[in-house]
Every structure is written in structure tokens, then in C-alpha cells.
């Protein structure tokens, strides 16, 4: 199964409540997947700061003194905000690659969840409620976000196997379904220089989109490509710096419901996930069509 949610705010007044709204949506779908949960939340990009979300199985040891050591290694200011097993490292945008490289030697056990100017990604093994409480997601603010609760079918139940998967700056993806040609696609992407952290099928979908966008496609075109190049069942919800997109495979057996008002666009695997959103009774509610790309941008 798996449950996925997405929320794209049009009304700035709701931005302080993004974390709370997204949390409510995800918790309502807990019985679609109890294995692990994750959330990607996008704040406004300032243009002069980049964020790297990292995770460590030994957070106490790895995050202590990291800011000073990393700043020294890359020669730029660094701040580290610890949040349970995760931490958000802030530095200047031109130093992201240098920081990623330095982390490998400074803290070999640290795993990178994602990086960009806007996105922060939090994911762990456990129920949505547990994961949301652990990272205090309810108090987070932002412009848009996506979330996932996992019932694993294709690979191990681990932190790295949880969604969202991020394979490019400010890009991330959540998936309900399973891909059958992911090994072939992964091999092709590796040949084209993409790097993979897991054996997971969804990571391949995320990397496919990042790869196409790196080759000059926009998100809409990259999503169109999934319909011919990825084989299997999927409903994808994708986040980028400014927007979010939805696409379902042509068979469309993985459920999806969307709602739109003047204040937001929302996605849920089921209508249940949308029932507590403001004004839902008068929202336009519809089921996204198979093999059709939907996309909203700020």
C-alpha cells in the first residue's frame, strides 16, 4: 500500500501551519503503511543560503563540534541545527558540494537526506505519529511539502529506504506502488553518472527525474518521461524548490485524490487525508487522471 500526501499553499497566511496541516494529513493515513514515515518541507529560498539535511545513527557523537570542523574544512561559515537523529547544515550555496565531500571524511557515518536552498527532509523507521513527534514537524513552517508512510515491498525497512527520496537540489519524490524495471533504469542512470544510496525502486524514479532535469527537461517533461520509461505501478508526488507535481501510471490502480481551493492544492492517497483541511467541504475535489501530469508552481 503506502500512503502519500502533498500540500502546496497559495495563501501565505497558512504558511505557519504547513507542518501541522501536513502532519494531520499523514497521520490519518497511518494504516496504509506502518514501517517508516518521512516528510519534505520547503521554506522560502533566500538565495544566499543552502541547507543540507543529514542523518546519523549516532547523532550525539557525529553532530558535536561539526559546525566548527566543517567550516574549517570548506572555508566558509557553517551552522548546524540538530533535530533528533537529523541535523540541518546551513552554509553558502557555492559550498554545498565541498561540504558533502568534507562530510565523508569528517563524519563517515552521516547520511545525506537531501540538499538545496529550500528543502528539509526528515525520515525514520516508525509510525507517522512517532516520526512527526520526533522531529517536531507540527511546528514547521513553509510554502509546500510532501509526506509518505511506507509499507515496504521492494527493499529493506531502514531510514535510507524511507521516502521522500532526494536525488537533486531541492528535488524529492514520494511513491505509492512498485517499479518492475528499476534495476535496468538504475544501471542506465549509473552509466550517466547518477549515484545511488539504496536498492530501492523509488530512488530510481527520483534519480530518473533528476537526471532528465539535469539534461535540460523541465519537471513537467521529466514527469511525462516516467510514463514511457518506468514500468510498474506508481502514483508519484514530487516536490521542487517552487512547486509540486503529481503523475499516475496509465493503469492507475494506486489511489489518488486531489483538492483545490483559493488557499491550497492538496494531494492524498485517500479522501480521509483531506477531511481536516480548511474549507474542504467547498473545495474542488477530483481524482487525477491516469497518465496525466499535474503541476503547480509559485
Amino acid at each position: 500500500m503506502c500512503g502519500i500526501v502533498g500540500l502546496f499553499l497559495k495563501d501565505k497566511a497558512l504558511e505557519p501551519k504547513l507542518g501541522a496541516m501536513l502532519s494531520e494529513m499523514l497521520v490519518s493515513l497511518s494504516d496504509r503503511g506502518p514501517d517508516s514515515a518521512g516528510i519534505a518541507i520547503y521554506g522560502a529560498a533566500t538565495g544566499n543560503e543552502a541547507k543540507i539535511t543529514v542523518q546519523s545513527p549516532k547523532a550525539d557523537r557525529d553532530f558535536r563540534g561539526l559546525d566548527a570542523e566543517l567550516a574549517k574544512a570548506i572555508g566558509a561559515p557553517v551552522s548546524v541545527a540538530v533535530n533528533s537523529t537529523h541535523a540541518v547544515i546551513r552554509t553558502t550555496p557555492d559550498k554545498v558540494d565541498a561540504a558533502r565531500e568534507a562530510l565523508q571524511t569528517l563524519r563517515p557515518d552521516i547520511r545525506i537526506m537531501g540538499a538545496g536552498e529550500a528543502v528539509e527532509i526528515y525520515k525514520e523507521v516508525g509510525l507517522p505519529e512517532t516520526v512527526i513527534d520526533r522531529f517536531h514537524v507540527r511546528s514547521m513552517t513553509g510554502t509546500h511539502g510532501i509526506g509518505h508512510t511506507r509499507m515496504a515491498t521492494e527493499s529493506a525497512v531502514t531510514t535510507m529506504g524511507a521516502h521522500p527520496f532526494s536525488t537533486g537540489a531541492d528535488q524529492c519524490l514520494v511513491h505509492n506502488g512498485s517499479l518492475s524495471n528499476h534495476n535496468n533504469v538504475r544501471r542506465e542512470l549509473i552509466r550517466d553518472g547518477m549515484k545511488f544510496e539504496t536498492e530501492n525502486d523509488t530512488e530510481v524514479a527520483a534519480a530518473y527525474l533528476s537526471n532528465r532535469m539535469a539534461h535540460g527537461k523541465n519537471l513537467g517533461e521529466a514527469l511525462e518521461g516516467t510514463l514511457s520509461d518506468l514500468d510498474g505501478f506508481f502514483t508519484f508526488v514530487v516536490g521542487t524548490k517552487n512547486g509540486f507535481g503529481v503523475v499516475r501510471d496509465p493503469i492507475a490502480c494506486k489511489p489518488a485524490v486531489m483538492a483545490e481551493t483559493d488557499q491550497y492544492v492538496a494531494f492524498g492517497s485517500e479522501y480521509r487525508a483531506l477531511t481536516k483541511l480548511p474549507g474542504i467541504d467547498n473545495a474542488r475535489v477530483w481524482e487525477p487522471e491516469p497518465a496525466t501530469v499535474y503541476f503547480w508552481e509559485h
Partner: protein
């Protein structure tokens, strides 16, 4: 869609037993419905705050009326045997699955496989139905005011599917003896499904179904009929191209 309040006429019909799903569990509701016995005085039920709950009013086997105020999730009114169930909202996947008899009316849209494997009764969807509507239907009558999605009536065996709008890809793939009536355009027909002549008995049958479903202002003659070419009943090498 907003839940429509109960009209005065509906309230005057009798003393509806009101079941608020924000106060009581779904299991309590379904248990109460399953305890109904023939001749019970509790013939009118109203369900409030379904909020996308799964399996609302499944397995009801007494001729009672149930009004659900709001949208429901998976499998609403499944296996219905005799009840008249109205959802004043939209329905998730599998509404009316394996209905035996009675009626189900969805005031909004229905998600995938509405009326799947249904054996009898009438399912009316006043909005659109998505993919696989009437898949493997075995005697149910389904009337959709709007459009239906792809692979509808896949392996349909008997019964009638009436669509006032358009049908998606692969309508009636591998169909047996169900009758499909579509007023709008059909994106494509599935394997072994063909357009058929509308004879007087089909006009009469369809008019009866439209009347039963409360459809007005639409003539039976506006529909086209589709059904089985009967080439795939038994394997015949000469028909290999039809698969």
C-alpha cells in the same frame, strides 16, 4: 462536495436513527445495521461525519434506507442486499462491490471499480466514475450520469451499464453477456467488445433503467449499445487476433 442537510420531507418520513461517526466507531454502526431483523421498525438511518471512512454500511441485508451525509472511503455499501443507500458526497474505491440487491445512489463521484462483481440491484452515480467501473459485473445495473474511466466493464458477465457521458479506453474488454449503453464517445473498445444494433427491446430495457435511476430529459435513442462479439468464449486458433 458539501453534505446536503436532511430535507423536512425526509425527516418527516419517520424517525431516522442518527449515527454520528465522530461520536461512535464504524464497527458500532455496521454491527447495529447487521443486527436488523425482518420487520424491524428502524427503517431509516442517517450517518453523519463519514469523513472518508472505509466500509461504511457494508453487508446490510434488510430493506432499510440509509443516508450518508458526506464523502466515504473504500468499499462503501459493499455486498448490499436490499437496502437503499444514498451517499450525499463522493465515494472511494469499490463502492457497492458485489451488491446482491437494493439500490445505492452516489450524489458525487465514485472512484475506481464501482459496482465490481455486482450480482443485482441498482447503482446510480450522479457524478463521474473512474477506472474499472462495473469490472466483472454479474447482473447489477449501473447508471452513471457523467463519464467512466478506462477498463470499465472488464470481463463483465451480465447486467447493464448505462453511461450518459463518455467512456475511457478499452471499454468492455473480454466482455461476456453484459449490455453496455453509452451516450457519449467511447475512447476505445477492449478485446472482443463491439458496437451493436439498438433494437426495440434494447430501447425498452434502457428506458426502464433510465426511469428507475430517475434520469430525465435523456432519450434511450441517444445511446449506442456495445457488447460481446463472442469470439473469446472458447479458445479458437482462428480468433487469435482478437486477444
Amino acid at each position: 462536495m458539501p453534505a446536503t442537510p436532511m430535507s423536512k420531507a425526509e425527516r418527516d418520513q419517520g424517525h431516522a436513527r442518527v449515527f454520528d461517526l465522530s461520536q461512535h466507531s464504524l464497527r458500532e454502526l455496521n454491527e447495529a445495521l447487521h443486527k436488523l431483523t425482518p420487520g424491524s421498525n428502524e427503517t431509516a438511518w442517517e450517518v453523519l461525519n463519514p469523513k472518508g471512512s472505509h466500509s461504511v454500511a457494508v453487508g446490510v441485508d434488510q430493506p432499510v434506507s440509509i443516508d450518508v451525509r458526506g464523502s466515504v472511503g473504500y468499499y462503501c455499501a459493499g455486498m448490499n442486499d436490499g437496502a437503499a443507500i444514498t451517499v450525499h458526497g463522493s465515494a472511494g474505491p469499490g463502492v457497492g462491490e458485489n451488491m446482491m440487491s437494493g439500490s445505492i445512489v452516489i450524489k458525487g463521484d465514485a472512484s475506481q471499480y464501482a459496482g465490481a462483481t455486482g450480482r443485482g440491484g441498482l447503482l446510480v452515480i450522479e457524478g463521474n466514475a473512474s477506472s474499472r467501473c462495473g469490472i466483472s459485473m454479474k447482473g447489477i445495473d449501473i447508471v452513471v450520469h457523467g463519464n467512466i474511466g478506462h477498463m470499465s466493464a472488464f470481463m463483465a458477465q451480465s447486467g447493464n451499464l448505462v453511461v450518459l457521458g463518455d467512456a475511457g479506453d478499452a471499454l468492455g474488454d473480454s466482455i461476456y453477456e453484459a449490455r453496455l449503453f453509452v451516450r457519449g464517445k467511447v475512447e476505445s473498445l477492449g478485446a472482443d467488445c463491439i458496437a451493436k444494433e439498438m433494437r426495440p427491446e434494447h430501447i425498452e430495457l434502457l428506458q426502464g433503467l433510465l426511469d428507475k435511476a430517475g434520469v430525465t430529459g435523456v432519450k434511450a435513442s441517444e445511446f449506442k449499445r456495445y457488447g460481446s462479439a463472442r469470439k473469446l468464449y472458447n479458445f479458437n486458433i482462428d480468433n487469435a487476433d482478437a486477444y
